[in-house]
Symmetry: C2
Subunit: 503 residues, 2 copies
């Protein structure tokens, strides 16, 4: 069962083999930490978390790098304008790195709630200035960049003249790009061609984030960090580069150009994977449409675009219901369906925990062929989710196959006779497969629903009732049970209270 | 009530005033992320978290910087030997930055459990190579460092010859240092004087962490990062630098020397604060004595040195029971006493939440003088904790004062007559003070004790009992109560089960 992945670079599904098995290097473009992540921002981290988990399930040793962009990402994703970080810092009267830390902490918390494993390396753009300057110097040495007035630009026409192909990833043609961008050229006359992009920008006097360089004080271009950091931590040629479809052009296109123009020429990753976008009630999410929802707003039910709060695991399951290359539309209905599906899968784990599928009374007199056929069928059912995962990470079909398996478990649990007609080994193997796909690969985990506080109130209600019924044995029983939980019941004139036991 | 702090630099308690009020810059030496933090490592972050919280309570805008050391800290805290990060990376066959990320993630989790607010900026040493190279260049320009064979050393004798005083912070005399270190000089012949220390080290061919510099490929000396990063984020002259007593020499001494020898000469911080050390059962914590306990080992009850698990808040309260400049000894007895004290304070919050201190029946006929005197006395009691906090952060006396206040609250709650003899305004103000000191300043917060799972089992027990007693109204009541918590009860042949409601 070999893993195939759709490679944007070649526009086809390819069998995945790592450069240096069993190692796999995976790089995902992380957040620009100038505001809170919105719902759409969660799709990529969830998709590539599942991919990382699945690669590990398959036995690969994955080094998963997800960066933090804290410098160089300008408003409008362009080469001119204010740095997104600096803009927020100015608005909030903070040091840019305070802004970065604030949103980075919140991003990590949200990712953790969504069940996304922390990356193995989480490099910050501002922490790799030396490496970025080094890479620019290499590109200048190759003659594929030029310095103008303290800034350095990548020379796209010259790059293409050398037989390399800027546009290879996104399928864009430089001539068309030039025609489209000519109108936007005002004030960008430093560039020899409008297709060129910044590797290093001279810092204006008021610019806060600035570092010395061979070209004067400035800061790196947005695209540069990913080339420099992926090479540093994964090598010049590595396995997988992920990101949202919106990053394919210009960000990833520029990354490839930088990689090819470096002193260690390569496309960088062999596989370039892109997850598709999220719409909300059929529309692109945007602040002006009032359907812009941050992760925390959803978790806490603070968004007018949704009728209620939805949990992190509900959102995770929601995203798994679409193949990552398809668009996905979010709505109350879709989230409620996702919640239901998620809870079903959790009840499946509870069924396996209950031991009901292991309960057998005596040796059954079952036809050996029938036993073998049933067992075979159960095992085939349990392998299906992995077959779909191996097909370009088809999570919706994998999830459907898990539901088929659960249906079979439920009917086995309901009928001792049916259970007797499957071998215990097959049941055990299928159970292990269910756990592996649900917990380990899809990364779904129980979310506490009943709160300890509410359940405690319930117990105190029982206590009060037992007291009024003068059922003193029950009174003592509840008192003892709560005491063992560190809770002391106090009888007062006005009713019942509790306090922490201070022992 | 002005805040006084003991300044190691001047060896006396001084009234604290910031360089640029209302801003306060606070820098704390953070962890070297090559292994899990042990119990002693938690003291500094807790002490300086309380200081940060108290400064904010007093109205200051604190910028709290705590760094992550991920390069340059060599085994034995010396200038020769293997990098601690690289050593762990080699042992675990990982990239050094994977080691850094692994232990950084765990450190942040532990700090969060201990109620320590995340720092406002959390800079990594490896992310500030440019800044460190810049600082070295300044020191070379001042003639206070020299290059030998690709390494750069700080010239301590020359620094002292210029009238500056290496040894000022720790009270050590360079001549004595020289006498003591002469024996250790083997292999360190690059240094002109044994008191000199490394600013930049040439990387041996096998060294993994290396960056280009004007002096060839290498890596920064351990002491350098804190000078470079505190200056970058807090300015050349800032307010408070914290750290453990074990860092006073050589680490902080070298920081001050680097700061004074820079292009922006200053001691760096005006106040240098040092927290004292932790002993375990009267002994220094060490691996060979078998009393080396990591935070997670304690929280999970996995240490042979302790008889049981203790919660993060228990450890936090334990540390608050000593003034930060005193040594503190940890033992089962001390932790159990801390747990008890912590729970008492939490029950105090429950008392305030109960509204009992607001309950008043009618207008009492109380003597006006008595009312005024009692109210005055309560207010005085409620101010005491802050007076002690303002006295060099005397948390043990502050905690004792909080207990006095709680005692008074308890007696007021127990006697409506007594409560009637204090003005509601005084009670409200004292209650607010209790909350402020316990929650906001000391940073103590409720830890769930009763688990939802155990309480659910209790409720299911009641359900089963009601069923066997054929008390069907009670059966329905429990069913409904749990349903509202998202839990569905299932009656089976063998007993009672629950599942998640899938709605």
């Amino acid at each position: 069962m070999s893993l195939t992945l759709y490679n944007t670079l070649t526009r086809k599904k390819e069998t995945f083999t790592p450069v240096h098995p069993p190692l796999v290097g995976l790089y995902l473009c992380g957040p620009t930490v100038y505001n809170d992540a919105h719902l759409g921002n969660a799709r990529g981290p969830i998709v590539f978390d599942v991919l990382t988990r699945y690669l590990r399930y398959l036995g690969y040793q994955v080094r998963y790098v997800r960066n933090i962009t804290d410098v160089g990402h300008l408003v409008g994703d362009s080469d001119e304008g204010e740095d997104k970080m600096a803009k927020t810092a100015r608005a909030q009267k903070l040091e840019p790195m305070q802004v970065a830390q604030h949103y980075t902490v919140r991003y990590r918390q949200a990712m953790s709630a969504l069940g996304c494993l922390p990356p193995d390396i989480e490099p910050q753009a501002s922490g790799h200035i030396t490496e970025q300057i080094g890479l620019i110097s290499e590109i200048l040495d190759r003659g594929l960049a030029y310095e103008v007035n303290g800034s350095v630009y990548f020379d796209v026409p010259k790059y293409n003249a050398e037989g390399l192909n800027y546009g290879r990833l996104s399928g864009r043609v430089v001539e068309e790009l030039l025609a489209n961008t000519r109108a936007e050229l005002a004030g960008q006359d430093e560039k020899r061609s409008p297709a060129d992009f910044a590797l290093w920008k001279k810092a204006a006097p008021e610019h806060l984030m600035r570092w010395p360089s061979p070209w004067g004080e400035g800061f790196p271009g947005w695209h540069l960090e990913c080339s420099a950091m992926s090479r540093k931590y994964l090598g010049a040629e590595f396995d997988i580069h992920g990101g949202g479809l919106d990053l394919m052009f210009p960000h990833h296109e520029c990354e490839i150009a930088q990689n090819e123009a470096s002193g260690t020429p390569s496309t960088g990753a062999r596989f370039w994977l892109h997850n598709n976008m999220l719409t909300v009630n059929g529309q692109k999410m945007s602040k002006s449409l009032g359907n812009f929802v941050t992760l925390n707003e959803m978790f806490q039910g603070q968004s007018a675009a949704l009728s209620q709060a939805y949990s992190p695991m509900t959102l995770r399951f929601f995203f798994l219901q679409a193949q990552y290359r398809s668009p996905i539309d979010l709505s109350d209905e879709a989230l409620q369906a996702a919640r239901k599906g998620f809870r079903k899968l959790m009840n499946g784990l509870r069924l396996l925990d209950s031991g009901k599928l292991e309960a057998r009374s005596g040796e059954p007199a079952v036809d050996a062929d029938k036993l073998a056929a049933n067992s075979q069928q159960l095992l085939a059912l349990s392998k299906k989710p992995f077959e779909f995962l191996s097909d370009d990470l088809n999570t919706p079909r994998a999830v459907a196959a898990v539901f088929d398996l659960l249906k079979r478990f439920n009917s086995l649990a309901a009928s001792p006779a049916a259970l007797a007609e499957v071998s215990p080994e097959a049941v055990a193997e299928a159970s292990a497969a269910y756990r592996a796909v649900v917990s380990d690969v899809l990364g779904l985990r129980d979310e506490p629903r009943a709160s300890a506080e509410d359940l405690l109130a319930l117990a105190l209600g029982f206590y009060q009732e037992a007291k009024s019924e003068k059922a003193y044995d029950k009174v003592d029983q509840i008192r003892t049970a709560l005491k063992s939980q560190g809770i002391v019941i106090k009888d007062t004139k006005t009713g019942v209270e509790w306090a922490y036991s201070e022992d």
